[in-house]
C-alpha cells in the first residue's frame, strides 16, 4: 500500500476530485496548505501598490491506495491538475505499513475497498 500526497492549486480541487471519482477512487482527504516551490510567489494589491507573498495556498490531497492503482491515480491527478504554468504542484509517494478501519476493524487492502471502486470495476 502507498500513500499519495498530491499538492496542487486550490481551484483544481473540484476537477481533481471529479476525475478520481470517475475512475473509481473514493477514499481521500484534503487539507489546505501553503507552499513554495519553483513558483517564487505572487503579487497582491494593497491599499496602494503591490506586495509579494511567497507562500501560496495549495490543496494537499492524501490518498492511501493499493500499489497496483498507483500509476493510474498519479496520471489522473496530473492530468486534472495541470495548467501548464509554474506552480501546478507536485506529487509524493510514501510507503504505508498498515491500514485499519475504525468502524469495522478491517486491516490492510481490505480496509481500502469501497463500493463500486476502481478494483470492483476492473472485474
Amino acid at each position: 500500500m502507498k500513500k499519495i500526497e498530491a499538492i496542487f492549486r486550490e481551484e483544481k480541487l473540484n476537477d481533481v476530485k471529479q476525475a478520481l471519482y470517475n475512475i473509481g477512487v473514493y477514499g481521500m482527504n484534503v487539507v489546505e496548505v501553503r507552499g513554495h516551490g519553483r513558483q517564487g510567489g505572487i503579487e497582491l494589491i494593497g491599499r496602494s501598490g503591490t506586495y509579494k507573498v511567497d507562500l501560496l495556498p495549495r490543496i494537499q490531497m492524501n490518498i492511501i491506495l493499493s500499489d497496483h492503482n498507483l500509476q493510474k491515480v498519479i496520471d489522473t491527478i496530473c492530468e486534472a491538475a495541470r495548467t501548464g504554468n509554474k506552480g501546478d504542484g507536485i506529487i509524493f509517494v510514501y510507503p504505508v505499513e498498515d491500514v485499519i478501519r475504525i468502524r469495522t476493524g478491517e486491516r490492510g487492502k481490505q480496509a481500502l475497498s469501497y463500493e463500486g471502486d476502481i478494483d470492483t470495476r476492473k472485474k
Binding site: 492549486r9 481551484e11 473540484n14 471529479q18 497582491l44 494589491i45 503591490t50 495556498p57 495548467t83
Partner: protein, 408 residues
C-alpha cells in the same frame, strides 16, 4: 412663502438616510456570507462600490432624471443637474417640512442599494468592469425612469393610482426582474448543478440580515418623510411582516426537514421586501398576513429556480422580485384609508380598482426593467464581456479581479 422646516422631521429623515446608507454594506455582508471564500471581497465590493458610483451619479444627474420636472410623465427634466436648485428650502411636492436636499439625499440611498441588490444574480463570475458600466447605465436607464413613473408628480404609474410606499416596485421589482434578465444573459458558474456551492460564512449573512432589518426602519419609516404617526405605522408594519415571514419560513422548513438559520434570516428579509410598498397603508395585522404569505411564495420560488437549473445565484428574483410583486398585489388587497387617508382602499375594503392599478404598475415596471437589463447585458457581453474566463473564475474573483485575498 416657504413652508417652515421642521427639525423633528428633518432629524428623522436624516437618520433614516444614514440607516438606508448602512443597508448597502449590510447587503454586502448578507450576500458575502453566501458566496465562496475566494469571492467574498468581490461580492462585498459589488455592493460597496455602488455607494461610490451612484453616490456621484445621483448628484450629477440621477436625481434630476428621477425627480426633475416631469417630461410627459416619463422622465424628469434637467432642472436638478448637479443638485442645482436643490437646497435648504423644502420641495413641497414631496416633503414640505424638510430641506429639499434632505429629500434628495434620502432618495439617493434607494438609488444606491437597488443595483447592489441585482448583483446577487451574477456573483462569483461577473467581470468587474462590465458591472461598473452596467450599473451606471442601469441606474440611469431603469432606476431613474421607474422612480419617476411611480413617485414623481406627473409620473404615469403614479397617475394610474398605483401605490408604492417605500419602493416595492421601484426598488424590489426592478431589482428582481433585472436579476432574472441578467442571469439569463450571463453564463452559469463552472460546476453549477454538479457541485454544491457552500456559503462560506453564514454569520456574515446573519449580521447583514440584522443590520438590514434595523436599516429597513429607515427605509420604510423614513418614507413617511416626517416623524409622524405614519412613520410609526410603517415601522410597526415592517417589523410585523418581517417577524411573521421569518416565523413562517422557519415552520415550512421545519416541516420539511430542519429550520436552517439561513432560511430564517432570508424569511425576515423577504417579509421586509413584501411589506415595503404597503408599509404606510395597512394595519399591523394585515402586515403580518402579508409577511406570512410572502414566505412560502419566495420559499417555493427558490425551489423552482433550482428546478429550472438557472444560476440566478443568490435568488434576487425569488426574494426581491416575487416578494416585491406579492407586496404590490397585497397593497391592492390590504390598503386602507383608515390607516392612511392619502392612500386608497384595497380589495378587502371593497375597492377592486387599486388592485388593478397595482398589478398594472408592477407589470409595467418589471417588464421594462427586464427588457432593458437583458438588452444591456447582451450588449456588454458582446463588447467588454460579461463574465471572467473560467480559469479566473476558478481562481476566484478576489484574486483575479482585485488582486487580493480576503483572509490570511
Amino acid at each position: 412663502m416657504n413652508a417652515p422646516i421642521n427639525s423633528g422631521d428633518t432629524a428623522w429623515v436624516l437618520i433614516s438616510t444614514a440607516l438606508v446608507l448602512m443597508m448597502t454594506p449590510a447587503l454586502a455582508f448578507f450576500y458575502g456570507g453566501m458566496v465562496r471564500k475566494k469571492n467574498i471581497l468581490s461580492t462585498l465590493n459589488l455592493s460597496f462600490v455602488m455607494m461610490a458610483l451612484i453616490g456621484v451619479q445621483w448628484v450629477l444627474f440621477g436625481y434630476s432624471l428621477a425627480f426633475g420636472k416631469s417630461q410627459g410623465g416619463l422622465i424628469g427634466g434637467l432642472n436638478y443637474l448637479g443638485f442645482a436648485n436643490v437646497g435648504e428650502t423644502p420641495n413641497t411636492d414631496y416633503a414640505p417640512t424638510i430641506p429639499h436636499l434632505a429629500f434628495a439625499a434620502y432618495q439617493m440611498m434607494f438609488a444606491v442599494i437597488t443595483p447592489a441588490l441585482i448583483s446577487g444574480a451574477f456573483v462569483e463570475r461577473v467581470r468587474f468592469k462590465a458591472y461598473v458600466i452596467f450599473s451606471l447605465l442601469w441606474a440611469t436607464l431603469v432606476y431613474s425612469p421607474v422612480a419617476h413613473w411611480v413617485w414623481a408628480v406627473g409620473g404615469f404609474i403614479r397617475n394610474l393610482g398605483a401605490l408604492d410606499f417605500a419602493g416595492g416596485t421601484v426598488v424590489h421589482i426592478t431589482a428582481g426582474l433585472s436579476a432574472l434578465a441578467f442571469a439569463l444573459a450571463i453564463r452559469k458558474r463552472r460546476h453549477f448543478g454538479n457541485t454544491a456551492f457552500e456559503p462560506h460564512n453564514i454569520p456574515f449573512t446573519v449580521l447583514g440580515a440584522g443590520l438590514l432589518w434595523a436599516g429597513w426602519f429607515g427605509f420604510n419609516g423614513g418614507s413617511a418623510l416626517a416623524a409622524n404617526g405614519l412613520a410609526v405605522q410603517a415601522i410597526v408594519n415592517s417589523n410585523s411582516a418581517a417577524a411573521a415571514a421569518a416565523l413562517v419560513w422557519m415552520l415550512i422548513a421545519w416541516r420539511e426537514n430542519k429550520p436552517s438559520v439561513l432560511g430564517i434570516v432570508t424569511g425576515a428579509v423577504v417579509g421586509l421586501v413584501a411589506i415595503t410598498p404597503a408599509a404606510g397603508f395597512v394595519t399591523p395585522l394585515s402586515a403580518m398576513a402579508i409577511g406570512a404569505i410572502a414566505a412560502p411564495i419566495s420559499y417555493y420560488a427558490i425551489k423552482l429556480r433550482h428546478k429550472f437549473g438557472l444560476d440566478e445565484s443568490l435568488d434576487v428574483m425569488a426574494c426581491h422580485g416575487t416578494g416585491g410583486l406579492w407586496g404590490a398585489i397585497a397593497t391592492g388587497i390590504f390598503a386602507s384609508k383608515a390607516i392612511n387617508p392619502a392612500g386608497a382602499d384595497g380589495l378587502l375594503y371593497g375597492n377592486g380598482q387599486l388592485l388593478v392599478a397595482q398589478i398594472l404598475g408592477a407589470v409595467i415596471a418589471g417588464a421594462f426593467a427586464f427588457g432593458v437589463t437583458f438588452t444591456l447585458a447582451k450588449v456588454l457581453q458582446a463588447t467588454v464581456g460579461l463574465s471572467v474566463d473560467e480559469r479566473s473564475e476558478e481562481v476566484g474573483l478576489d484574486i483575479s479581479e482585485h488582486g487580493e485575498r480576503a483572509y490570511a
